[in-house]
Subunit: 200 residues, 2 copies
């Protein structure tokens, strides 16, 4: 069990890293196995298909996101609601800056990259990513509802605004990737937060 | 000349369509040639590499964007500046909705898709897409400057806000692609425009 589950996790770790640095279609099973130091036969023992591996990669990143990422604690309830939104933006900016230092380039959001590349091609992966974005938007929506309740925001469509904030975050990361400069994210995020906080 | 340039344009058209429906790495030169009804040998007569073809595809889409797309006229100078921003959002939403009807799925933005997939892998394509996003942001920035000048917006960092608006638009399109529903874009865009227009 120990060795097997190690191998499975090594495959997931390798695929996570390779998909993120390059793209889904550009990375083959052979290369993932080589990086993970696992034989190709073992790969298909753990994963019936590359899609199945990808669903595992998404779960793996989602777990990291919720437990260890720079944004994991952004939504702590003891922080005032709008401050949480700001921490969400700053945490994401910090995470991308840190990754740029490690990898020498801006690789973007694991979820956003896969969503952009695969959504129109694979309905099962698309639905999984959609569910993750929805879960993220739900947390933002609850936060906005609190901000409205305490009078920090006027009455707004909290669901549409939460979706818009998440979309904005994804767009910022895509722009940082296209410019290969994570520092630009902070300026964009600030402009966005200023827009949001500019209350009536 | 006539036949040759027809073949070249057919290759560009086919690649534009295939990259958009699927992704860059998922589409091979062989398939592009088959769709274009051009022999593979001719392909390399016109394009030394898939990258070179892709640079041509980007130019082709950029020309369409500026001359024929639903957003091409969004920034007409005879429209009040903030109304232009709104038209930019609505035009993009309309364009994605129209494409969803034609293709039966939301395929996203040609530029955004390529930027997400290739930016961390190909510096030449990344720079070309970066230049296009910068040109788009410049138009938005000029528009915001006009809005500030006529008093429709408070003094803001127009450059950062223009970048933020473009990022937001890209994020909205990515979310619509992930949800495979272009109709959701309008709600998000409205929430974003409301944020922007909610002046001090």
């Amino acid at each position: 069990m120990g060795r097997n589950s190690d191998a499975k996790q090594r495959i997931i770790d390798s695929a996570t890293e390779l998909f993120h640095s390059r793209s889904y279609a550009n990375v083959g099973v052979q290369e993932i196995c080589e990086k993970a130091n696992v034989k190709k036969g073992s790969f298909y023992h753990f994963f019936p298909s590359k899609r199945d591996l990808t669903l595992n990669v998404i779960d793996h990143v989602w777990l990291y996101y919720n437990q260890q990422s720079a944004v994991a604690k952004a939504f702590d309830k003891d922080v005032p609601p709008l401050k949480r939104i700001e921490r969400f933006f700053l945490g994401s900016c910090e995470f991308q800056s840190q990754l740029q230092k490690e990898k020498g380039k801006v690789c973007g959001c694991h979820f956003g990259n896969l969503a952009s590349e695969i959504s129109s091609q694979d309905e099962i992966i698309r639905k999984k990513l959609d569910a993750i974005f929805s879960a993220q938007a739900d947390v933002i929506e609850e936060t906005l509802e609190e901000a409205v309740a305490v009078g920090d925001l006027p009455e707004i469509d909290t669901k549409a605004t939460a979706d818009a904030i998440l979309a904005f975050m994804q767009g910022i990361i895509l722009m940082a990737k296209t410019r290969n400069d994570a520092r630009l994210m902070k300026k964009m995020a600030k402009a966005g937060v200023d827009m949001l906080l500019r209350s009536d």
